[in-house]
């Protein structure tokens, strides 16, 4: 349940914030959120990764009519359909790293 909330929050916040702030806003955003919510290290990586990966992939799907991915495919010499995935993976990986770092840096609650 907590992970779902984290996922939904990051997914929404990424899309909203990215129209105002630079793309790397996802780094402090995810780190602050995992620091605050204290998920496990695994969830600290995977939930932000999936949230940002999906947010970026869906955004690209709605923004691009296929013309940009065709160009990028030719530019980087990879199949065109892979270019949105590569882009989304980059975003997801950044979020995952900072998300995991946020969850690890926060001291565990003492029993």
């Amino acid at each position: 349940m907590k992970n779902s909330i984290v996922f939904l929050f990051l997914f929404t916040a990424t899309i909203l914030c990215s129209f105002v702030f630079p793309w790397w806003i996802i780094a402090p955003l995810t780190m602050a959120f995992t620091y605050a919510t204290r998920p496990s290290a695994t969830a600290g990586f995977t939930v932000p990764f999936l949230a940002i990966f999906l947010a970026w992939a869906l955004s690209i799907y709605f923004i691009d009519n296929g013309s940009v991915q065709t160009l990028l495919g030719q530019l980087f010499r990879i199949p065109a359909f892979m270019t949105p995935l590569v882009a989304s993976l980059l975003g997801g990986f950044v979020a995952g790293l900072f998300g995991c770092a946020g969850s690890l840096i926060r001291p565990k609650k003492s029993l």
């Binding site: 923004i63 009519n65 160009l71 530019l75 882009a87 980059l90 950044v94």
Partner: protein, 789 residues
């Protein structure tokens, strides 16, 4: 421990973000900052442009006096409707930036010598050459002289304001994708950049000179042979203006003082326009037209690029309604038509770029001898802000002649392009598009300075005309062919030809005017000139237009797309009869050829290879000298020599103990090429249109297309017809046009290169003159610019 892992991960996260925010070079290829480039919210994805994504835009600017409407028609051509000229030019600047900002930026950074600033140290050498040629200096001179015309300059100010209005309101997310890829941002436009664009055009079209090469050839061959290999004039040529010319009291027949070389000079590295750039224009009077009114055709040929060189635009105010193409970065319409007239240009090609020797008086080269006195050189320190490097400085010495282009050679460049403008040259294409009669047009375009152009004209009063228009220096005979003696100012240009004495004709009895970059005049013209001319296309146009018949619009289209080569016809008329019977059997491809350079024909590549091999043998005295910079003899010189003599001493190959004649060379060169595999012209040519950055992803695929530099359709590999226009004058002008590309500069747009296929097939779009917004049947979207405080 957990916290340490967290900090390590944080460190790696920061490092990864830093990596994604930085530029890198992988396998020699530069990578943009991937985070900025690939994120969906401000990265390259924002440049996606779906065909149904255009919505109307309402803008507000205090720079316009009244509301301006810009309606983009179904071909994405903007139609500007304004209440006054300045508002219209503001909108022109705006739409040009809207579609072509990156192109405008790069095409003015190039002459300014500022490419390395954004593209890195690899471009520094190029930048230095551009600055040393004095293009930036020339732009400064132009802008300074423009201040003489403050009222007229307000038109350029309005155009510049329009560009800047677009830039100021452009968010980084919507920068053209090339900016994102190359990781820099657009900067403000200014009038100097308009001047730079004019200078860049002059570099392409008025940058011809072969002074060093010709001087070397003179030294190598001696006077008599030099005249054989590099004659000034082809007697077979039909000049643009056949005369009679305005007689002068004092024809300037003195020979120029030419510097005799003591040593061979190395080639000065300078950017050059590609050989064989070939444009055509002609206008026929109503008496030769099927419509009974004049027809005007113009197809300027340039190095093709994407985004397209030209931008199609229509401008309407209460005073005029014009449609045509504009060169991005200059206000007005360069080639086009309005309700009453049509106009266009081809390049003149006179040599207005001459080198003069400089004798320095001191080791530091701070002063030089001129008219018997030591004269101080002006030292100009050029500063380069190179991406990824510290500031680089370069000192350029300026003499009374002009800059020292290469410090290793004591030659100064006298180039017309450096001169201040004595007339408001920036108004030529603004005023030109508003004219209604030829007298008005002559006055409006009389302001044009450089690069000199064959300005052609036709109107619905059945007037046609052509003027070789621009500033042309008065030279003594032979001046500028080779290096001049720079010790005396008397050896330089003696002023400029008065504009009314420029070659020109109006309503000639033959019923047409025509130009195809050939010699401007016959030798009867009282002023000397030399330059970069091509005679075959002009002869082809004349051979058709001089026929005793009337011409339709379809005839004009066929003529613009003609692949017929008079050069091939003439050459094969000499070569085939000289072939031995054994070779003749193998030459059936050529003997049956109709001299058309069609894409599917196999004969043209075979002929080209054969002729090139033959030229190498005939001019072995030139081509074997690989260490000396020498000019390549013109094709027509080779053909004329073969026609006049079959045993000229030049046919003897120096490396053999025998004495060869033409027949020997013809057979030997044929044998050398006939066994090579032969493909069609289209497959051999590999024609394509590269993007400005040369990135294949943004460039066209290979285009299967015919044409040759000696045919009216002078399509080569990447050089060819950049805009084809035909206008039938009359009560309502009927116009057709096409160019290789599209209106948008965005490689992700459907309008980026949507016209290439039609252009390659020789097809045309119908261009209606939409004098009223309501007459645009299927607009894509519109922009309204209001002044609401």
């Amino acid at each position: 421990m957990r916290k340490i892992f967290g900090i390590i991960l944080l460190f790696w996260g920061l490092a990864f973000v830093y990596f994604l925010q930085s530029t890198h070079t992988i396998a020699g290829k530069p990578l943009p900052p991937l985070g900025n480039f690939l994120n969906p919210y401000s990265g390259v994805w924002q440049n996606a442009e779906a065909p149904d994504s255009y919505g109307d835009i309402a803008l507000n600017s205090s720079s316009v006096a009244q509301e301006v409407r810009i309606i983009f028609d179904e071909r994405m051509v903007p139609h500007i409707y304004a209440e006054n000229l300045k508002d219209a030019l503001f909108a022109q600047g705006y739409v040009e930036a809207y579609h072509r900002l990156f192109q405008m930026d790069i095409s003015t950074r190039s002459p300014a010598g500022r490419l390395s600033e954004v593209l890195g140290p690899n471009l520094l050498k190029y930048d230095k050459k551009q600055r040393r040629l004095g293009l930036s200096y020339a732009a400064d001179n132009a802008v300074r002289s423009w201040q003489q015309f403050p009222d007229l300059l307000e038109n350029v100010d309005a155009y510049t304001a329009g560009i800047n209005y677009y830039i100021e309101n452009l968010s980084p997310a919507h920068y053209p994708m090339e900016y994102k890829l190359l990781d820099f941002a657009p900067t403000a436009w200014n009038n100097r950049r308009c001047a730079l664009l004019l200078k860049a055009m002059s570099q392409t079209l008025a940058g011809y000179e072969e002074d060093i090469e010709m001087s070397n050839a003179f030294k190598l061959l001696g006077k008599d042979d030099f005249k054989v290999v590099y004659p000034l004039y082809n007697p077979k040529d039909i000049p643009v203006i056949e005369g009679p010319y305005i007689p002068l009291k004092n024809k300037n027949i003195n020979e120029a003082v030419v510097e005799e070389l003591s040593i061979y000079l190395p080639k000065i590295g300078r950017p050059r326009s590609p050989e064989g750039v070939g444009s055509n224009n002609w206008a026929i009077s109503g008496s030769k037209s099927e419509t009974g009114n004049p027809l005007l055709a113009n197809d300027p040929h340039l190095a093709l690029s994407l985004p397209s060189t030209w931008y199609e635009i229509a401008i309407t105010t209460p005073d005029f309604s014009a449609h045509g193409v504009t060169l991005l970065g200059m206000p007005g319409i360069m080639i086009g038509f309005n309700e009453n007239i049509a106009w266009g240009e081809t390049n003149v090609g006179h040599d207005v770029s001459d080198y003069y020797t400089v004798a320095w008086t001191d080791e530091n080269r701070t002063s030089y001898m001129l008219d018997g006195k030591a004269t101080k050189a002006t030292l100009k320190i050029e500063s380069y802000t190179v991406k990824g490097m510290k500031e680089v400085l370069d000192t350029v010495r300026y003499t009374a002649w002009g800059p020292i282009v290469d410090d290793s050679i004591n030659l100064a460049l006298r180039w017309l392009v450096h001169d201040e403008a004595s007339t408001p040259e920036f108004m030529t294409f603004v005023s030109g598009m508003t004219c209604n009669t030829y007298d008005e047009y002559l006055e409006a375009t009389g302001t044009f300075q450089a690069p000199a152009q064959n300005f052609i004209y036709a109107d619905n009063h059945n007037e046609i005309g052509l003027r070789i228009n621009g500033k042309l220096p008065i030279k003594t005979y032979g001046e500028g062919v080779m290096i001049g003696d720079g010790s005396s100012t008397k050896n330089g240009w003696q002023g400029f030809i008065p504009r009314n004495e420029n070659p020109q004709e109006r309503n000639p009895t033959r019923g047409y005017v025509s130009s195809s970059n050939q010699w401007s005049t016959s030798t009867e013209y009282p002023y000397f000139f030399n330059g970069n001319f091509e005679g075959y296309r002009g002869r082809m146009a004349h051979s058709v237009l001089s026929q005793d018949s009337t011409f339709s619009i379809a005839d004009m289209k066929a003529l613009q797309n003609s692949n017929y080569s008079i050069e091939a016809e003439e050459a094969l008329g000499i070569l085939l009869p000289l072939l031995d019977s054994s070779n003749l059997k193998q030459a059936s491809l050529l003997s049956e050829w109709n001299f058309e350079y069609n894409a599917d024909a196999k004969a043209p590549p075979l002929f080209d290879r054969w002729f090139a091999a033959l030229e190498q043998m005939i001019w072995d005295e030139i081509f074997s000298e690989t260490t000396i910079a020498l000019p390549t003899p013109d094709t027509w010189v080779t053909i004329n020599l073969m026609e006049s003599s079959k045993d000229h001493p030049f046919y003897d190959i120096q490396a053999t103990p025998y004495t060869e004649n033409l027949k020997d060379l013809v057979n030997a060169s044929f044998a050398a090429v006939i066994l090579l595999p032969n493909a069609t012209l289209g497959a051999t040519k590999k024609a394509h249109i590269p993007h400005l950055t040369r990135l294949p992803a943004f460039s066209s695929d290979t285009i299967h297309i015919g044409g040759t530099k000696r045919a009216l359709n002078a399509m080569q590999q990447t050089v060819g017809p950049s805009w084809r226009m035909i206008v039938a004058l009359g009560e309502n002008p009927e116009a057709y046009g096409m160019y290789p590309g599209g209106q948008s500069g965005n490689p992700a747009s459907a309008y980026y290169m949507n016209k290439i296929d039609a252009w390659a097939k020789g097809e045309y779009d119908r261009i209606p003159l939409a004098t009223q917004p309501e007459s645009i049947s299927s607009p894509i979207f519109k922009i309204t610019i209001s002044n609401e405080e």
